[in-house]
Each structure stands twice: as structure tokens, then as C-alpha cells.
Amino acid sequence: MAKNTKTGYEPMTSIEAITAGLDTVGYISISQISTAVFLAHGLRKPILIEGPAGVGKTDLAASLSKWLNLPLIRLQCYEGLDEGKALYEWKYGKQLLYTQILKEKLNELLGGAETLKDSLSKLSGFEDLFFSPQFLEARPLLHAMQQDRGSVLLIDEIDKSDEAFEAFLLEVLSDYQVTVPEIGTIKANVPPLVILTSNNVRELGDALKRRCLHLHIGFPDHEREQRIVRARVDGISDTLLNQLVRFVQSVRETDIKKRPSIAETVDWARTLLLLHASTLDEAFVRDTLNVLLKHESDIAAVSPAIGKMVREATGPDARGRLASGYPDMG
């Protein structure tokens, strides 16, 4: 595919390059994620990311923008979000102010006109003045189209928006262009890299899904989680890291309402580090469990097993030994 030399997408030459690039900004990718990003760029299609909260869906967009040095344009969806908030709006206030200021000037200009017809024809020469790009307030979608080097457009929690908005989004996402009736069609010179995230609050429409590449990010395995925590938390010791990740992984296997995700693991690691914990012990875990589990009932469900889980997490384990062989990057 012929590439414009001026775009900011240059570094995405291969799947490996993407994995390595994301690594430099602290995002530990896996091949599925990098593949999706590579294809999104190659096929010019948005990526729809699904998965539990806190596994790095939003973070992928942020990391991509950081790595590629492109602006991150974020559109947070919510119920009632409409075109005016997402695409563009006229700056009514400014238009009004300008008409007031220019009133005298207009009077002067129109003063010479004898009849109503005359003044109308004179006026028609100016009317575009107030509906010009100058008075156009670009909202995230339009803003993303206007970036010369491309951009990363994050449409967060699309499942929270109304179906009407979803349908409206289809047009924008398939052609990367928007139509402003008073001005005309604005087409993106360099289409943005679009990332949509969904927490599955409601089932998305088939039409939208069909236009997107589908990527599911689940909970990470032991090794990847260790690497992520190491990249995010400075100065954590290998022993503690290995133990706490093993503990979190075993918590995820229990039957609880809200399983802790990477965000919680990172928070917990920071908490333990603040408390100067060098290894995991039961008292520490009990005191800080509310960082990891966000529901009272979940804490109650896990509590009786803490002793056993801590012993298992700190005891010898083939998996643990293997993973701790990684060089310390922190």
C-alpha cells in the first residue's frame, strides 16, 4: 500500500515493530493486539476492543498516540451524546456578537439600497461570512479528521451511547468524512487510527461490528502481568512482584462479582510498595485487600481463603520460577 510520507503512521511497518514500539512507551502488547493494530492501519478500519474494565483498552489508544507522537483525540460516550457534541457546532455566541458589532457596518453597506429586494441581493453576498470555518467549533470527530499527520481517535465506551449515535457514527467511520451542510464535505487527508472500546453494557449493532476489526482483551497471563506491573511500578522487587501477581491470578479464579484487572494489580503493587512490603504476608494482604477488590461481598468471599492463597503464592511454584527469570527492567 502506497503511503504518504508525511503521515505519522510510518513506524507501523510490521507487527513486530508495533509490539516493540508499544513496549518503548510501557505498553506490553501481545501478538493479537499488535496484529489488530497493524490490520487497522493496513485496512483502514477501526478497532473495536471489548473486554473487562481495566485491562488496558483505553490505554492502548493512549500508548499508540504516545509512541507515534500523534494527538490523542478522545470522545467519551454517554447516554444522550449527539452530533453537536461529537462532530461540530456553530459558535452561536460569536456569531451573535459579530452581527452586533458589524451592525453599523452593515447599515452603511445596505444604506444605499433603495428597495428591500436590493438590500437582500446585497446581503446575500455576505451571508456565508457567518457560516464559515471561522465560526465552526470542531468537536472530537471533526477535529480528528483535520489532523494533517493523522491522529489516534479514541471513542470510549461506545456501548453507553444511544443507538442513534451508533448509526450516525457508521457514516463517519466508513468514509472518514463529515458533511457540514453550510460548508460542504470535509474529508480527512490522513484518516485517523480509530479505536472504539466497549464494556458490553449493551449489545452493539451488527452494522457497527461489521465495520470494525474485533479485538478482545482479556485478563493477562502470569508472565505478561508481571511485565506490565514492572513497567508501571518503579522499584518493585522480583520476589514481591512474582508473589503478588500469583496471588492476583488465584483471586481471579475464585467466584467473585468483580474480578480484579490489571489496573487493580498495579494499584495494589503501588500500595504494597508504599507500605514497604518486601514479601507478601497475610496481614498485609488483609489490610490492603480493598485496593484489589471493590465489592464488600467479594472481600467477604475471598477473606477465609487468604491464608491459603498467600501460602500458595509465596511457596515454590514452577510457573513462578520460570517467570522470575526475566531481567529487571524497573
Binding site: 496484529t35 485496512l43 478500519k45 471489548e50 444511544d162 443507538e163 451488527d206 461489521r210 474485533h214 479485538l215
Partner: protein, 448 residues
């Protein structure tokens, strides 16, 4: 390779993964971009483009392994195509020789290629049912020149010399190897193209089977089916809940929206009519024969929480109790067991159940509520308390009665169904999952 991809997409479609033409094109572009040297990468890429949910991804990955595990490199199939073979005119001796060559050690690649070509001639991709495996295997052997081999074998058998006997034995082995290889290939084709079709057929059967006749080993399938139905209904009925009414100006909102332009109404906002959110109260008779149906109705309704946020369930045989807590806190099967054990005892009394409901839960009924009653209306000759029932029906939006008994039995013996019927917006016979789906669909449609 394009052919491989399009066949693979066909297999996906037959496994109920909806792949549009646009996606098929994307798949082709993807393969062109990624190449097909790295299988894992190709699998991930295609999954990304073709699968649109977690479950579809699983189907995709399974089919990918099946499909691409054997497909020979396209070039090998073409280069070997030059040999003449399997044509009716071929000399039996040559054919037999060629085939026995194929089955010898070291010729696996050539054999695989020949099998693939035979599969294509036999139209193996049309396989749909497991009973067709033998037929397709035979057609494949024939396409490879099996008839000539057979003729040669008969000739050898008639020779009656030690040499001829040895020859015959050798040819029998050749035939066996060929048949087995062809069978394996046909079996795999069935896994790819047919297995899902058979599943679909079984699902179809299960959906129209009487719910009381579902056997224990079909329960897992039924649960999946119910989940599918629930999803379908939920998607259909969780559409947006506002409808613009053109012609009625919403003065307040219009003024606010245009405050920035001096209150000149540039943007006119019309009054909107909000649709009611469905509110359902379901009252189940859990005695005797009806108990089997309760399970499915509750499973269906509780799988649709997103479309029916306001759902209350009650069960009774003699006394009526709320079962919301049990259903929400326990795993579904265990919950049903507990409900049946705790409430399913005692002789059925609709009158008692309605008076219990009146005493404790009547305030849950409002004009948005649909009351669904699942029961056979056999009340052991007790007072049906029509007065209470009429009262409920008056307060609620609608009352729907689902009866597992056939219409012919209504009103026979101790059935008091006909006396309740005048107060119900609808009274229907529900025997299968299809009936259930239709009934719930109607309930929810009344809210749009």
C-alpha cells in the same frame, strides 16, 4: 489461496458465523498483507477481521485448525495436476500401478494431493451430515480410479497362481489404504462443513420439542438455546425508548436550546414520548407437571435482565413466596432445585396464592406492569378468588396467562382456566421454547 479463503469463509458461515461480502474481501486483503507463512499470525489476523465476538472467535479458531491443518500448498496441487488419472479410458493396469505407487511409503505428499483433487471432484465441501461420510469416501476413491483398481483386482484373483495371489493381496492393501485415507478426509470435511449444520438441525428440533419432554442430557443444549433466544429478544426490545412526536412543540426545551441566539427558535425541539420500561411480575405454579416449564420461563426471563430491569418472580403451590432472592444469589440450577423443594409441596391453590399476593405484594403492581402467570389453573376445587384476580388485572397493564396444557383440556376436571380467561389480555398454550419466545416477544412488544 483465494479459493482456500473463500471455502474457509463458507465453512464459517455454515457454522453460524455471519461473514459479509465486505468482510470476505477484507480477509483476502489481510492474507495478502500478512502472507500465509506464519500460521499463528494468519489465524489471529483472520479472527480479527472475521469474528465479531468472543464466541465467534472460538468457532473461528477451531475451524481454522481443522481447515488449514491439511490443505496442501496450492502449488503442489497444481504441479501434480498434469498426470492423467482416474479417467475412464485409463488402462486398468496403469491405474492400479499408479495407485499402488501413491500408497507406498514416502509418497505421502502425492497421496495427499491426489486425495484433495478427488475431494474436489466428488464435491466433498457439500457434505452436511455424518451419514454421508461413507458415500463421499467412496466417490473419492472412484474419482481416483478405484474402478480400474477393482477390475485389475478381479483379474488378479482369477489368475490362481501364487504370483497372482500375491498381486491380489497387494491390491487389496492398496484399496484399503486409499479408502481409509479418503474416509479420514471426508470425516474432516464433515467436521468443517457439516458438524455445525447438524448442530443447527438439532437445535431446531430441540426448540420445537415439548419442554416437559426435554431429557437431562439435552439440558445443556437447551440452556444455550434459551440464552440465544434471550439475547435475540433483548436486542430486539432494548431499542431506544424515545419517540419524537412531530407537531407538538416542547416550548421549555426549545427556549433553552436557543438561549444563545436571543431566544429566536432556530432549533425547534419537539415533544418526545417516552416509552415505558417493561416491568414484569411473573407468578409461577411450581406444582407437579408445571414445574418443568417454570425452569425455562424463569431462565429465559432472568437471562434478559438488560431488557427487563424490573422483574419480580413469585412461586406458589399452596402458599406464594417471592423467589427473587434465591434466583439472584444462587446458581440457576441450584436455585430452581431449591424453589421446587421449598415451595413445590402442598396441594395447589390459586385462590390462596392470589390472596397471599394481595396481602404482601399488591403494591408492586402498577399501570406499567405486565403480570405473567404460568400455570394450568387446576386449583383442586378451591375458591379461585376471581375477585382478587379481577382486581390485579384492573391495576396492571396486562395479564398474560401461559398454560402448558393443551386447549382441549381447559375447563375439564378441576381446571378453572375459562373463568380466569376474561380478565387476561391473552391466554396461550405454551409447550415449546418457540411458544415461549413468541409469548415473551408479545409481552415486550406491548411496551414499544
Amino acid at each position: 489461496m483465494e479459493k482456500q479463503i473463500s471455502n474457509f469463509i463458507r465453512a464459517l458461515r455454515s457454522a453460524d458465523v455471519r461473514v459479509s461480502t465486505g468482510e470476505a474481501l477484507d480477509a483476502a486483503r489481510t492474507v495478502a498483507m500478512i502472507g500465509y507463512d506464519d500460521r499463528a499470525m494468519m489465524r489471529d489476523s483472520l479472527a480479527c477481521v472475521l469474528a465479531k465476538s468472543e464466541s465467534e472467535k472460538q468457532i473461528h479458531d477451531r475451524l481454522f485448525e481443522l481447515y488449514f491443518s491439511s490443505a496442501p500448498a496450492g502449488s503442489a496441487a497444481q504441479s501434480a495436476g498434469a498426470e492423467n488419472e482416474g479417467e475412464p479410458g485409463e488402462d486398468p493396469k496403469d491405474a492400479a500401478e499408479r495407485l499402488s505407487q501413491l500408497t507406498q511409503q514416502g509418497n505421502e505428499q502425492a497421496l495427499a494431493t491426489a486425495i484433495e483433487r478427488a475431494a474436489e471432484q466428488a464435491g466433498l465441501n457439500d457434505i452436511r451430515f455424518s451419514t454421508q461420510v461413507a458415500y463421499f469416501a467412496q466417490s473419492m476413491v472412484r474419482a481416483m480410479g478405484g474402478e480400474q483398481l477393482q477390475a485389475r483386482l478381479l483379474e488378479a484373483l482369477q489368475g490362481r497362481t501364487p504370483d497372482a495371489d500375491a498381486e491380489a493381496q497387494r491390491l487389496i492393501d492398496v484399496r484399503r489404504t486409499l479408502t481409509m485415507t479418503a474416509r479420514e478426509r471426508a470425516e474432516r470435511a464433515f467436521q468443517i462443513f457439516g458438524a455445525a449444520e447438524t448442530e443447527k438441525f438439532r437445535d431446531e428440533v430441540a426448540a420445537t420439542k415439548r419442554l416437559s419432554a426435554i431429557e437431562a442430557n439435552d439440558m445443556a443444549r437447551m440452556k444455550q438455546l434459551v440464552a440465544k433466544v434471550a439475547k435475540r429478544l433483548a436486542v430486539k426490545h432494548s431499542r431506544r425508548r424515545k419517540r419524537t412526536q412531530r407537531g407538538l412543540l416542547d416550548v421549555r426545551r426549545t427556549m433553552r436550546a436557543n438561549a444563545g441566539v436571543d431566544g429566536i427558535p432556530f432549533n425547534v425541539i419537539w415533544r418526545q414520548k417516552k416509552k415505558d420500561r417493561p416491568k414484569i411480575i411473573v407468578i409461577c405454579d411450581v406444582s407437579g407437571s408445571v414445574a418443568l416449564y417454570v425452569r425455562f420461563l424463569l431462565l429465559l426471563l432472568f437471562s434478559m435482565k438488560e431488557a427487563i430491569p424490573d422483574l419480580h418472580a413469585f412461586a406458589f403451590s399452596y402458599r406464594l413466596k417471592s423467589v427473587d432472592d434465591i434466583l439472584e444469589t444462587m446458581e440457576f440450577d441450584a436455585a430452581i432445585k431449591k424453589i421446587l423443594r421449598e415451595i413445590g409441596l402442598g396441594s395447589t391453590s390459586y385462590g390462596q396464592a392470589f390472596s397471599d399476593f394481595k396481602m404482601e405484594h399488591e403494591n408492586k403492581i402498577d399501570r406499567r406492569t405486565t403480570i405473567i402467570i404460568l400455570g394450568d389453573g387446576r386449583s383442586n376445587y378451591g375458591d379461585p378468588r376471581l375477585d382478587l384476580f379481577r382486581d390485579f388485572a384492573g391495576r396492571a397493564k396486562r395479564v398474560i396467562w401461559l398454560n402448558p396444557e393443551g386447549r382441549a383440556l381447559w375447563g375439564t376436571g378441576d381446571s378453572v382456566i375459562p373463568r380466569y380467561e376474561p380478565f387476561c389480555a391473552q391466554m396461550s398454550h405454551v409447550a415449546t421454547l418457540k411458544d415461549l419466545e413468541k409469548a415473551i416477544d408479545e409481552v415486550l412488544t406491548a411496551y414499544s
